[in-house]
Amino acid sequence: MTFIIELLIAFFLIMSGIFGFVGSFGMIKLKDPMSRLHAPTKATTLGVGGVLLASITHSVLLEGKLSLHELLITLFLFLTAPITALFIAKWHIHRHEKPQDLPDAGEDELWATHAVEQVENVPDHSAN
C-alpha cells in the first residue's frame, strides 16, 4: 500500500517537474516577448500544482494528518500571477504596440493603455 502511495507522489512530482521544465524551455524557445509571457502561466498552474498535490498526498496518506495550507499557495498564486502578467502585457503594449497593430477595440475605439497615453498629451507645464 505504501508503495502505491509513493508511486502516486512520485507521479505528481515528476509531472510538476516536466511542466516546470517545459515552462522554462518555452522562455528560451519562443522568440517574441508576448509569447514568452505564456510560459510562466504553465509553471504556476500544473508545475506548482503538482508539488502541492504531492505534498498534500504525502501528509494525508503517509503522515496521517490533514494539511491543507498548500491550497493557500494556489490561492495566492491565482491572485498574483494574472496581475503580474497584466502589468508586463500593459508595459509591452505601452512601449511596442501602436493602436493600429492591435485588433479593433469596438465602440470604445482605443485600448485602455493607449487611451491613457492620449490623456497624458496635455500641454507641457514643466517650462515654468
Binding site: 516536466i18 517545459v22 510560459a39 500571477a81 470604445d108
Partner: protein
C-alpha cells in the same frame, strides 16, 4: 438584523479571512479559529469604506461548477501548450491578438474573467478597452481566433454572468 449587518459588513470576507487564517495556522485548533474569526470581524470593519457596492453572488452551485470547469481547462490547456512549445516549429506557430466583446459589466466579474483567461495556459488577457467593453487577449497559437473567442464566451463568460449578474 441591522446590528448583525453592522458587525459583519461583509460576511463573505469574514468567512474567507477566517478560513485562510485557519489554513495558515494549519493545526485546526480552536485557538486559530477564534483568532481567525477576530481578524475576520476587524478587517472587514476597518476596510468597509473600500467596498462601496459589493457584488452579490447569485448562484452558488454555479461557482463550484465554474471552479471545476476552470481546473479541468487548466489541465487540458497545459498539455496542449506543452505540445506546442516542445513539438511545434516557431515559424508554424500563429500568435494572435483577440478582441473579446464583453457582456459582463460588474468590475469584479470582469476581473475574474481576465484572471481566468490568464491562468489558462495559451491565453493571456492583456488590456481592457477604454470604457471596459472589450477585453484584449493574446493567444500563443490561434490559427482560428473566432473559435477561441467563442470558447471564452461560451465556457467562462456565460457562467460568470449567471454568478454575478
Amino acid at each position: 438584523m441591522k446590528l448583525l449587518h453592522r458587525i459583519f459588513p461583509h460576511p463573505h470576507l469574514t468567512f474567507l479571512l477566517t478560513f485562510v487564517w485557519v489554513l495558515l495556522a494549519n493545526n485546526g485548533s480552536l485557538n486559530s479559529l477564534v483568532f481567525g474569526l477576530i481578524l475576520g470581524i476587524i478587517i472587514p470593519f476597518i476596510t468597509q469604506p473600500y467596498w462601496p457596492d459589493r457584488p452579490k453572488l447569485r448562484n452558488w452551485p454555479m461557482v463550484v461548477e465554474y471552479m471545476l470547469v476552470v481546473l479541468w481547462d487548466i489541465v487540458v490547456a497545459n498539455v496542449t501548450v506543452a505540445r506546442i512549445i516542445l513539438f511545434k516549429r516557431d515559424a508554424d506557430r500563429q500568435p494572435n491578438w483577440i478582441c473579446v466583446p464583453l457582456e459582463l459589466r460588474t468590475p469584479e466579474a470582469i476581473t475574474v474573467l481576465a484572471g481566468t483567461i490568464t491562468m489558462t495556459p495559451g491565453t493571456v488577457s492583456c488590456d481592457l478597452s477604454a470604457q471596459g467593453h472589450n477585453l484584449l487577449v493574446h493567444c500563443l497559437d490561434a490559427p482560428n481566433p473566432e473559435e477561441v473567442r467563442d470558447q471564452i464566451k461560451q465556457r467562462y463568460e456565460r457562467r460568470l454572468k449567471e454568478i454575478f449578474e
